[in-house]
Amino acid sequence: MTSGINLVIPAQPEYLSLVRAVVAAAAALDPGLGDDRIEDLRIAVSEATTNAIEAHANLGSRERITIRCDLADDRIEVEVEDHADPGFEAGELDSPGPLDRPGRLEYEGGMGIPLMRVLADEMKIRSLDHGTAVQLVVYASGPSKD
């Protein structure tokens, strides 16, 4: 059985705290998710939404961003879909690489995607006709990411 919610927000940073609150509340409905994992998901979704807002801002897009939370028995899936065409390609991201890479102090940005990768059990980036979708999955019984 699955259930879930959709949240559609203007692409503005002021809505990030609302997204975090809603996703954390939705995740808390899953009794199998501990507080630590809810926190992991909350951070990861915030990072994905931040990237979407940035992508919209870079293109001057006035479209909205959709955050879908699907609760299944064993996991919660959250998809953040933007309308910032063209979507970025995962392989072309300007990123400082692994978080523990020496010299990373040179970078003040680029930590969002590596953070998502370590916080979520699964992360997929899909290019769509109209933008990009980032899917984040946290399993209720999954191994702790510590």
Partner: protein
């Protein structure tokens, strides 16, 4: 929402931050840090005890502050790094980059976790 107040502890200027540090609020913190350095406060402590969320944007502002203070011959330390913040600092390796101290004793290092 983000609020910043400041106090002095010896040679350190302590910035007490309250709220969440994300894309919406990080410009406020960045301006505060730049303003303090501009006013001659090269040794800063950013007290995060009142912060319950920081994302990569906020971490970028803190890294920027560290680089700015050091480029002026000063330093920046952090205090009040607990809960979600300590997890993000660990995951990003920034717990090795920043000196974490007790806000009441800016010259003493208490961040020497095992």
């Amino acid at each position: 929402m983000l609020a910043v107040s400041s106090s002095d502890a010896g040679r350190w200027r302590v910035l007490h931050v309250r709220g969440e540090i994300d894309m919406a609020t990080s410009p406020t913190l960045r301006q505060e840090i730049i303003g303090q350095i501009g006013a001659g406060h090269r040794n800063l402590v950013v007290d995060l005890a009142g912060v319950d969320f920081v994302d990569s944007t906020g971490l970028g502002v803190l890294i920027g502050g560290l680089k700015r203070t050091r480029s002026q011959g000063g330093d920046m330390r952090l205090s009040g790094v607990t809960g979600q913040l300590s997890r993000v600092f660990e995951l990003t390796g920034l717990d090795d980059v920043f000196t974490v101290i007790d806000a009441d004793q800016p010259d003493g290092v208490v961040g020497a976790q095992p």
